[in-house]
Assembly symmetry: C2
Homo-oligomer: 335 residues x 2
């Protein structure tokens, strides 16, 4: 039996592209005791994957050269020599860019909850939703009357974070690229207003749309957008550092915001988090998110590409801003 | 009766100096009902005064051109038409750079607590001590085994913050300029080690002295020192932004640290505060600080200059790093 993989060939300096990966076909050996063989059905694409290929210590070790590219996946158990998993189970984990993967003792695998589709398991009910939920609610406390600003607002995490803030009664402003995304934010996702960073000044947009300044900033972008937001903080504001996609493809780290001292003047807090710290609290999250999503109070878009060949180019969609909502790629349907 | 003042003449671009102030003699009118006339005895010099003369909204309005320079003071009541204050009372407030000042209804005046000297009232038991105490303990929770790094460590606030962290059982490293200050930190103030930023690399010093990385960083300096500290954060670290003296005399705001994303990777928090928010909790502070200081568990140095003529040049001592400990200037002894 053969397995196809996309392995990391070279480390990107700057923009990540297809040339940094190599398509490899390898032989699979028979399952040993305790192993679970999983066929990948859907791959998740996340900005944080860009950091995983840098040769730098971070919250996870870097993907090694010649190693299969790490990615979140939903798959189906093909065969199992581990008592916790049965053939046909839908499972999620870090299965990577490959057709099949083998888990030892089921470590890193969890079953997709009953009634949740593979797409949903990687999106709204997966790390995307979890990131939005705990990032927003654990690091801030949006209240009625508060102004919450979200960057990368039409992205998977940002769109959910903004909608949760709306459910908590806040006024929510999103920053996104292009009229289509901005329209989706206000017309479908229920944001109060949107700033199109490709066609208007973010600084002016914030000043116009946040006359009472910003109580909570949920930042996926960093760079100039972070600096603009820091200039408009309300007293005791909370800046939630979820990501900094504007800098992920830079060859040299860029200077930070000039106005960090605004945190002092406004007695504000800027804080980072990583979703993996919250995996054990998924029950708490699903208790809220299942009814919110099933009742239509929260909407979630998925951008689903297809085909093994298109895996590396699909990652690039995140950095060119082509995706609207959660970026996925379908390899196969469950049987 | 005449009053001498140092008024703000022009706004400094860059380094603040004597040329930005004008010495003025003005007539004083008779006290009206409700007024309190105070003779200034000691002036406090604080880095934040540099910000007060910028034409920029901040946590207090800017000092206007032609207005007496704002400063913390301890003085003695000369005469009072307000029932809350009597002739001879020692009082503190924002009396400014002048020989006498008049408070309306005693607003902004508070009596120096019994048994506290004027110098102590402006230093260890005043906003300096209060800043160190609440900045450290309200924004972090240093515990035995933690590593606490303090910049501006031989300054008034930094030296106290570091000693409080020691009392809480932490390992405390200070950053200061010059061997004399560093020796004082380790030999007198009980710091575990000191980094002399004038004679060694701060990045290397931190790496050497904080092998377990930094749990709490109490920052008075900003700039490169903040960036160096952000490179060495432990998990769930707390960065307390007390001040940023390295940037106060810059004509243009400098870029911020390149490595803000380290807050994400280490799930850390950076937070600002202003001591005036804690003035109402001074009782809580004195309950701890009076016994700590009287028993010698906390030491505090005061650098006391003298003479009305020397007021503007004394402010410059803060920015050239000439002061060791709290910078004060004595105008007169209490009667």
């Amino acid at each position: 039996m053969k397995n196809q993989q996309w392995q990391l060939k070279t480390r990107p300096q700057g923009l990540i592209g297809e040339e940094h990966f190599e398509r490899v076909v390898c032989e699979m050996t028979d399952l040993a005791e305790g192993q679970v063989l999983v066929k990948n059905l859907y791959l998740s694409f996340d900005p944080t994957q860009r950091g995983w290929v840098n040769d730098m210590e971070s919250y996870m070790p870097p993907v090694a050269i010649g190693e299969v590219m790490r990615a979140g996946t939903v798959g189906q158990v093909v065969s199992s020599k581990c008592s916790d998993f049965d053939e046909g189970d839908l499972v999620q984990g870090l299965g990577g860019w490959q057709e099949f993967f083998v888990s030892e003792q089921g470590i890193g695998l969890s079953k997709v909850p009953e009634g949740v589709t593979p797409q949903e398991a990687l999106g709204i009910f997966g790390t995307t939703g979890l990131t939005a939920y705990f990032g927003l609610l654990d690091l801030s406390d949006p209240k009625p009357g508060d102004t919450v600003l979200v960057s990368g607002a039409a992205g998977a995490t940002g769109s959910v974070a903004g909608q949760i803030a709306k459910l908590k009664g806040a006024r929510v402003i999103g920053i996104a690229g292009g009229p289509e995304k901005c329209r989706w934010l206000t017309e479908t996702a229920g944001f109060d207003a949107a700033i199109d960073y490709k066609n208007e000044s973010v600084v002016e947009g914030i000043a116009r749309l946040c006359p009472e300044r910003i109580n909570v900033f949920f930042d996926n972008v960093g760079g100039d957008i972070l600096e603009a937001a820091l200039d408009h903080l309300a007293m005791n504001a909370r800046v939630i550092l979820c990501g900094g996609i504007s800098g992920y493809n830079e060859t040299e780290p860029r200077p930070g915001p000039k106005n960090i001292m605004n945190l002092v003047i406004t007695r504000s807090r800027m804080e980072g988090f990583i979703v993996i710290d919250y995996l054990s609290r998924i029950g708490e999250f699903l208790n809220d998110m299942l009814p919110w999503y099933r009742s239509g109070q929260i909407v979630h878009l998925e951008d689903v590409q297809e085909g093994f060949d298109n895996i590396p180019s699909t990652l690039q969609r995140l950095f060119s801003g082509q995706n609207l909502g959660k970026q996925l790629l379908k390899l196969a349907e469950p049987e």
